[in-house]
């Protein structure tokens, strides 16, 4: 009972903070917060399939793209689409589709979820680690499809003038909802089953767990929220092109969830703030630097080299990240009630 009250209060506090931030901050700060919020949603969902269920996947950029395109096409008014599609006329269904904001976002999530379901069959029913390769390829296929189907996606030109409905009120609240949903999943028989599959798939099966089902459920859930994140991204950026959803997005999310601790939701939140923050701060690596009086020259991309090295170093020396696979309240509790071992 006590826990439930604390939880309610924390949620209330968060909502108030979101509302306050939305009212108070200037647009530059808000755009940073919005960015962090969207990435938080993506990181939390990516953490479920990768961290909690332990299935190495590279899916985010693909599902984010799907969510973004579906949402954009639903949000842009039909007449605007007619003008916008430069190469060919939009396909009729694409031209006429139109929805309010929330249903548009949800449709992005649902579309991603259905595709995840389809992908689950070839991937999870066989032994072997094909999820990563299939999702990696999937990301490329989405881009190929977006480029080659101008009637549906406006090809390389992408979509612009997407109605900018996503503000921090929306993004912050959805991020909060995502966080709560993820925690509810983790602390249920489904989360436990996912962790069991992660730790020892054969032993999990020996406990009666249908590992195919559990992996599929985790994958579909991750896809859903990644689709939602994609929809929010489309509305936030107001412009989307096929090249925006490259592997780089997935890689950034991977660094985030590894840093936070694979499997820890609160870790993923913290790491999102840290990584998004340092992405900006580390921009100086791309510029000309003066080290010991020598100029390095401007090298765009040096930042990413450093990040790649960081990831490798983390995997070699600090695999558990910041929180391991536990949540912040468990870590605090364990610090205060240290039990002996037997």
């Amino acid at each position: 009972m006590k826990n439930a009250i604390i939880k309610m209060l924390l949620i209330l506090l968060s909502i108030l903070l979101i509302a306050w931030a939305h009212r108070t901050f200037d647009s530059y700060t808000l755009s940073i917060l919005n960015n962090i919020g969207i990435f938080a949603i993506l990181a939390l969902s990516y953490n479920l399939i990768n961290g909690v269920a332990g299935q190495f996947s590279l899916e985010p950029n693909g599902f984010v793209a799907i969510g973004a395109y579906f949402t954009a096409l639903f949000l842009i008014p039909p007449d605007d689409k007619l003008d916008m599609f430069a190469l060919v006329d939009p396909a009729p269904i694409v031209q006429h589709m139109h929805m309010a904001f929330l249903p548009a976002i949800l449709s992005g999530g649902i579309a991603a979820t259905l595709i995840a379901l389809l992908l689950s069959f070839p991937v999870f029913r066989v032994r072997g680690d094909y999820l990563a390769i299939v999702t990696l390829g999937f990301g490329f296929i989405i881009r190929i499809f977006a480029l080659n189907s101008p009637a549906y996606t406006n090809g390389a030109m992408g979509l612009n003038d997407i109605p900018e409905v996503a503000n921090f009120l929306w993004i912050g609240t959805i991020a909060l909802v995502t966080f709560i949903v993820m925690l509810h999943i983790v602390y249920s028989r489904y989360g436990r089953a996912m962790k069991a599959v992660r730790d020892d798939e054969d032993a999990a099966t020996a406990m009666g767990i249908n590992t195919f089902k559990i992996k599929t459920v985790a994958f579909m859930t991750s896809a859903f929220f990644e689709g939602i994140g994609g929809g929010l991204l489309a509305s936030f950026l107001t412009t989307i092109t096929p090249d925006q959803f490259s592997f780089l997005l997935t890689f950034q999310l991977l660094i985030i969830i590894v840093l936070g601790g694979l499997g820890s939701m609160s870790g993923a939140l913290l790491a999102t703030i840290l990584v998004m923050g340092s992405m900006e701060w580390l921009r100086f690596l791309d510029d000309d630097m003066v080290i010991f009086g020598m100029h390095t020259g401007a090298h765009p991309g040096m930042r990413m080299v450093v990040f790649a090295i960081l990831l490798i170093v983390m995997m070699l020396f600090a695999r558990k990240g910041l929180f391991g696979d536990r949540e912040i309240h468990e870590i605090i509790r364990d610090k205060f009630l240290k039990k002996g071992n037997a």
Binding site: P122, V126, D129, G137, F140, F251, G301, M302, M315
Partner: protein, 297 residues
Amino acid sequence: MDFTTFLQQLINGASLGSMYALIAIGYTMVYGVLRLINFAHGDIMMVGAFLTYMGTSAGLPFGAAVLLGILGSVIVGILTDKIAYKPLRDAPKISLLITAIGISFFLENLFNVLFGGVPRAFSAPDYLTKVWHIDKIYLPVTVLIIPIVTVVILTGVLWILYRTKYGMAIRALAFDIPTVKLMGIDADRIITIVFALGSALAAVGGVFYAVSYPSIDPLMGVIVGLKAFAAAVLGGIGSVTGAVLGGFILGFTEIMVVALFPELGGYKDAFAFFFLILVLLFRPTGIMGEDLERSRF
């Protein structure tokens, strides 16, 4: 399609298939021995191409530049294993996979920083850029040479695997690492040989690619790598002959389908993905049908 065009495309397919086959072998061998999908393997191909490019730019004769490319790739491949994979031999599988992706991303961005993202023109020597015209067939010399050289190389690889003691050790390792160690074989050395061999082949594939599509860029290994892996799965992951078979099938299909249905041209890179899905759905062990639990070369 008339016969000469068919023949033309057949040869093109053999050429493309050769490249996929060479790279697929590296994937399948590392997977067979370590159960690891070496995401960085496709980038090794890129490294080979770029180092060869550096050699020719520095004025080296082409042959020497190619050797430089191969040697460099072998070193990168071996280092990758020693620095990143070996320390994680006993770690959970996901750690290894994440590290592999990290290495891949590192190589791509390193070469991006060193060479810039704009594709570089790769200058092949004159004797390779000649084009023969037979009837209406348009045959760049490279398209002919590549399959021939590939077949020679593959024969060599199979000879190593089946006629030398190192090859036997590699095949034994694919079966069961602990037992092999108990027999006194230095498993780490064999694994190093696997990485070296795979990287060398990938480098050759990279040079072939650079010569066929004379521009190279740091991301060239990504798509090709993905396709080569799909080819390896198609042929039967863990099987070298399977990888070769899968590579050629994929190469032919890509060329033929686009030749027959030009409107599908934009989607040619997606064929590999669909092959992969189909194989996983209907025959996960691939054409050569090796049991995933116990793989053999």
